[in-house]
Symmetry: C2
Amino acid sequence: MYKIAVIPGDGIGKEVMEATLHILDASDIEFEFKFADAGDEYAEKTGIPLPQETIDIVKQSQACLFGAAGESAADVIVKLRRELDLFVNLRPVKAYPGTKCIFDDVDFVIVRENTEGLYSGIEEYTEDGATAVRVITNKASERICRFAFEYAEKTGRKKVTAVHKANVLKKTDGIFKNNFYKVAEEFTEIETDDRYVDATAMFLITHPNMFDIIVTTNLFGDILSDEGAGLVGGLGLIPSANIGENQGLFEPVHGSAPRLAGKGIANPSAMILSAVMMLDYLDENEEARKLEKALITVLRENKVVTADLGGDATTMEMAAEVKTKFVRE
Amino acid sequence: MYKIAVIPGDGIGKEVMEATLHILDASDIEFEFKFADAGDEYAEKTGIPLPQETIDIVKQSQACLFGAAGESAADVIVKLRRELDLFVNLRPVKAYPGTKCIFDDVDFVIVRENTEGLYSGIEEYTEDGATAVRVITNKASERICRFAFEYAEKTGRKKVTAVHKANVLKKTDGIFKNNFYKVAEEFTEIETDDRYVDATAMFLITHPNMFDIIVTTNLFGDILSDEGAGLVGGLGLIPSANIGENQGLFEPVHGSAPRLAGKGIANPSAMILSAVMMLDYLDENEEARKLEKALITVLRENKVVTADLGGDATTMEMAAEVKTKFVRE
Ligand SMILES: CC(C)[C@H](C(=O)O)[C@@H](O)C(=O)O
Ligand SMILES: CC(C)[C@H](C(=O)O)[C@@H](O)C(=O)O
């Protein structure tokens, strides 16, 4: 019995969460779901986007499923990442069948540092504007690079690429790059290289198979993972795992999508794949493969899928279809 | 007679510059080219990547053609941009015939702020790492947004999109966004909107025609313009203009490409298109169109083109072909 915190949040976050829980209900594994509040809607009622109670519930759980937060996202998800020291943001970019991918063999993973960089929260108004501080430490750089290499070993990936802008950000990204190559020395069987973030933004389109694992700082990881989403047919397909020493928080890369919300037609795939990542995190790998396979079958058949995938199913209809296959696996 | 400073720089910078000057020689317009040093090679000999003499030559010219600098790029081109207060970095992203574009109707322009942001040069080592300061001022934000709207008016473009990360960088990008909407009020006939930089990185791939003019801060512009290059077949095709109150500096977006250098096979198109931008800047629009047309013809015919375009011509052979068409126009 796993204790799982569930934060549906705002907009389509609530809808894809309902869909995913509906599927997980059919799992052989037992979960105790504990619901918690956060986001715009909750802030409207209470003035607070992320109550301490929610942080506590997540801390007392083995993992957390998170839907999406609206305008208050920075005060909810960024704060949760920092409060819980979820220092890794793992974002697999993979082309699935039946989706609008530009290339059908894209398969790489972005390992995004999740606690510092331009997300330090250190911003100030000045006489004629404002400044923000980009913080890069040896500790966080070493830790995220080590995670990337260990993840490569664990998953059989062959190459880790550090992405930075050390030609301009000589000191901060110099630190990041140094730590990368220092950690790399311990993993001699894994190929390494490093690229500038601008060049990477180009190569992701012209030579996506150049990349296997990308490890990078916070904001670069944010930008490149959305670009990756573009490569494989949009944000509806990209899950993510926020991982710390004692906790994992799993969320779709997409947001609350106010324009789509309330219609019940959002693609639940990214949330379902986030649940797959949670199952893997809990070492329930067999169950993870079953769920992933069920989703892939539904995507490949391309019949009971949402509008963005070329179908006309509702979120819950697509979820029901995934559930049916999941039970049969 | 125009006084033009010419900085070939390093690697393929020298090669594409030679090719472009070879073509400009056939122009009806008279140029006085004044050569100046900068870059890795010069720094190896003298210890200085960008001598004061070069800065002076550029200051005394009406425009500057710049090839590329290698490892020292930040100390050369970033310094030139700041020293000469070239506050605009204009980067058209356009699909040309005969190129490996993902979509063949891409046509938007990135207006990148060119003097501040994370290029402020304010970086410091700390106890366990380093910090860099992202500087955003009202003055620079107002100025770049105004340029974007005036450029829209001048070129008949219909929409300007501000790109930022104001959900996380609330103060700095708050300033940028405020200035954008304040300037927008003066240009009521132009459509406006704003997007997050991460979402933009995705939409550039899934819905590139959503964009007409993008105005953004320094590093975001750097990343998005390389992504744009990926959309239209690579950096070999993307020119840029660095523009200030009294000066213009024109350079390909690509770098010195050490691995390609010395072989004489680099694609000269980005440098030729940079010369086209220079001609437009000098109000020699007719000559600009002639040169652009000559290049497009060569690209469309896809016969005498370099390897990256599917041909086997050398840089100088392709340039000679463009020159022939240019003379005939
Ligand atoms: C909503 C926003 C604060 C967040 C981020 O910038 O990290 C999102 O874009 C993401 O990638 O998870
Ligand atoms: C070489 C580098 C300093 C430069 C930049 O970051 O501006 C380049 O990438 C560019 O886009 O002109």
